[in-house]
């Protein structure tokens, strides 16, 4: 329930949320731990931790390359759970795993949920798992008191938004435009329309992501959504400074500067 608490806290304080994405194991698991702690220090609302996968069909080139770098470190979900367990000694920032379905399936869904809960993971977002296909998994997550975050897209019909509203918990992730992940120069109007459509069906907080890469864009998103997700822009910095000994400091600065000053 860390996610729910965090969002109600935001509401009380009348502020909005910031959700960074990083790929686990990029550049390596030890630094991922430090990066999570840094992102917690700038008061991230939730941290999305990407599970690297060999075939990231919904990702743009920046996150594809992060996945490739991470996979070279030869680890799996078990090691990611160990990492989260370790992180939990120092922070209660909500953490969700952002994954493709196959690595989760091969881990075994029942065991996955039990181990995730045990490690201190708060929920899952599965890129290629739509509500129709998610029944078993979302029941298991519920049983273990974990959140299932679903994506909605500008192409989603009202019927589909309703279906998501029935299954989702924690928050809902609105994809700002059709396309793969990746930073863009401009934000799109379709996100605002989508968020407003979703509000008819659900009271859950709604985060907007895909393409957000500057503090201005975060501020823009905050006008109509509850949180902004920034992925590729941060991952690109990690790519740039991966072997720099000041990596963690640099990312903390970069992510901190994505928060609008007011």
């Amino acid at each position: 329930m860390r996610i729910q608490n965090k969002f109600s806290q935001l509401k009380t304080n009348q502020t909005k949320g910031f959700i960074p994405f990083i790929t686990a194991g990029d550049p390596d698991l030890k630094q991922t731990k430090e990066l999570i702690l840094a992102l917690a220090r700038i008061d991230s609302t939730v941290i999305e931790l990407g599970v690297p996968f060999s075939d990231p069909m919904a990702d743009g080139v920046v996150i594809q390359k992060a996945s490739e770098r991470a996979l070279k470190n030869n680890f799996g979900i078990a090691e990611i759970f160990d990492l989260v367990k370790d992180v939990r000694k120092e922070t209660q920032v909500p953490i969700i795993l952002f994954s493709y379905f196959n690595p989760l399936l091969q881990y075994g869904l029942e065991k996955l949920c039990a181990d995730a809960k045990d490690a201190g993971v708060d929920g899952f977002l599965v890129t290629d798992l739509v509500p129709e296909e998610a029944e078993d998994f979302s029941n298991l997550l519920k049983k273990h008191d974990l959140d299932m975050i679903f994506l909605i897209a500008p192409t989603s019909s009202d019927e589909r938004l309703k279906m998501v509203a029935e299954r989702a918990s924690g928050f809902i992730y609105a994809v700002s435009r059709t396309g793969v992940t990746g930073a863009r120069e401009t934000t799109s109007q379709s996100a605002e329309i989508l968020v407003n459509r979703m509000r008819q069906f659900s009271d859950l907080p709604i985060a907007v992501g895909f393409g957000i890469s500057t503090a201005d864009q975060v501020a823009e998103t905050w006008k109509y959504a509850d949180a902004a997700v920034v992925g590729s822009a941060i991952v690109r910095e990690i790519e740039k400074f991966g072997s720099d000994e000041k990596l963690v400091e640099k990312i903390e600065d970069f992510a901190g500067n994505l928060l609008p000053k007011n």
């Binding site: 919904a58 989760l104 091969q106 129709e132 989603s156 019909s157």
Partner: protein, 395 residues
């Protein structure tokens, strides 16, 4: 026995739609458009007309007399998909889907290709109708199927090389999906095998079923009875399911799908999903058998033939495998290469390296069968595209 998928595109536990949310409404739209034309006589007449006049169907069922007699066993018939326009069965599906795309008002067609045969077929039909065509192809496949790259460009298509992963079919599909998810409004994704999210496996199978329907009629005309055995190579599974499907209810007709055995049975050195390393999982929109490691990452694959070099297999095949209705075996690189030469020399037909896998298995088992038994092998394509590669390998 029911061989139709359920409403959500499942054959048993296989199939479904495992895609990003953005693609769900487009897939729903595609499904209803497809079901609307499935029983529409006007559409089917237009489709059939193009299959005949543009592609040259029906393709012959040819009795391979010298091959049969040399092997001294079963009577071997070849279903001559190599004689269809563009030289493989891929044209059947390309015509069907382009007609559908036109009905849906789409003006931009994208496709993936492995061996280049599906890319060439798609580029061909797009040229026929004046549609924009973009084909994604792994750079490794571009290298080994250079002739097809040139053919596609000649036909006016744009070929985009894909440099990620193993640089083969799987990676081309990833890139095509990324394009589709970005340009859903304007773009039709013309998937080339019985793979991917519902309704593709069903739709591709239906369009390819003309192979089996014709073969059934032709063998009845020639032999007065159904064959004992059907053999086809299996990449994603479209030529094989096209041949098999119209016979599935005929209990006495046995079927064998031949996967690519590659260099060895070691994971990474073959593309036989029912062999070692093949476990149920989800890839590129569908649940099926996959070559993968313990952590669910997709394994690299290898085959001498680009068209069979893929880590997953169509969901209907996974179902038929578990049901025991179809047997799946593999032929390795060496056997396929040998069959390529054998068929060339005994029948004057140069087969595609993909089809050579089916031929290789026929050569293996025909001698154990009796001369009263009849086997139909799907000759899914012609081998012109492979001649350069084979020349290098034999040098």
């Amino acid at each position: 026995m029911n061989f139709q998928p359920n409403e959500r595109g499942y054959w048993g536990e296989f199939g479904g739609r495992f895609v990003p949310e953005t693609l769900m409404s487009p897939l729903e739209e595609l499904t209803s458009a497809y079901f609307a034309i499935r029983d529409d006589s006007e559409f089917q007449a237009e489709f059939l007309n193009l299959l005949q006049d543009f592609s040259g169907r029906p393709t012959p069922l040819f009795y391979a007399k010298r091959l049969s007699e040399t092997l001294g066993g079963a009577k071997i018939y070849l279903k001559r998909e190599d004689l269809g326009h563009t030289g493989s069965h891929k044209i059947n599906n390309a015509i069907g889907q382009v007609l559908l795309a036109k009905r849906m008002g789409k003006k931009r067609i994208i496709a993936e290709t492995g061996a280049g045969q599906h890319g060439v077929a798609t580029a061909t039909v797009c040229a026929l109708f004046g549609l924009e065509c973009v084909v994604y192809m792994g750079t490794e496949d571009m290298r080994r199927q250079e002739l097809n790259v040139f053919r596609m460009r000649l036909l006016g298509a744009e070929v985009r090389g894909v440099d990620s992963g193993s640089k083969t079919l799987k990676d081309a599909i990833n890139e095509a999906l990324r394009d589709w998810v970005t340009n859903v409004d304007t773009t039709y994704y013309l998937l080339g095998s019985a793979l991917g999210p519902h309704p593709y496996p069903l739709m591709v199978r239906d369009f390819q079923s003309h192979i089996g329907k014709e073969a059934r009629q032709q063998i009845l005309e020639k032999e007065g009875r159904l064959p004992d055995l059907l053999v086809a190579c299996v990449g994603g599974g479209s030529n094989s399911i096209g041949l098999f499907h119209p016979f599935l209810q005929d209990e006495n007709v046995q079927m064998i799908g031949v996967e690519a055995g590659g260099k060895s049975s070691k994971l990474g050195e073959h593309a036989a999903r029912f062999m070692e390393g093949g476990k149920v999982g989800v890839l590129q929109g569908t649940k099926s058998y996959l070559l993968q490691d313990d952590r669910g990452n997709i394994s690299l694959t290898h085959s001498i033939s680009a068209g069979l070099d893929y880590a997953s297999i169509g969901p209907e095949h996974a179902y038929l495998h578990d049901l025991g209705r179809v047997e799946y075996v593999s032929a390795n690189d060496e056997e396929a290469l040998k069959a390529f030469q054998t068929l060339s020399q005994t029948e004057g037909i140069i087969p595609a390296l993909e089809s050579s896998h089916g031929i290789a298995h026929a050569i293996k088992i025909a001698p154990e069968m009796s001369p009263n038994e009849i086997m139909v092998v799907n000759l899914s394509g012609r081998g012109d595209k492979d001649v350069n590669q084979v020349q290098e390998m034999l040098a």
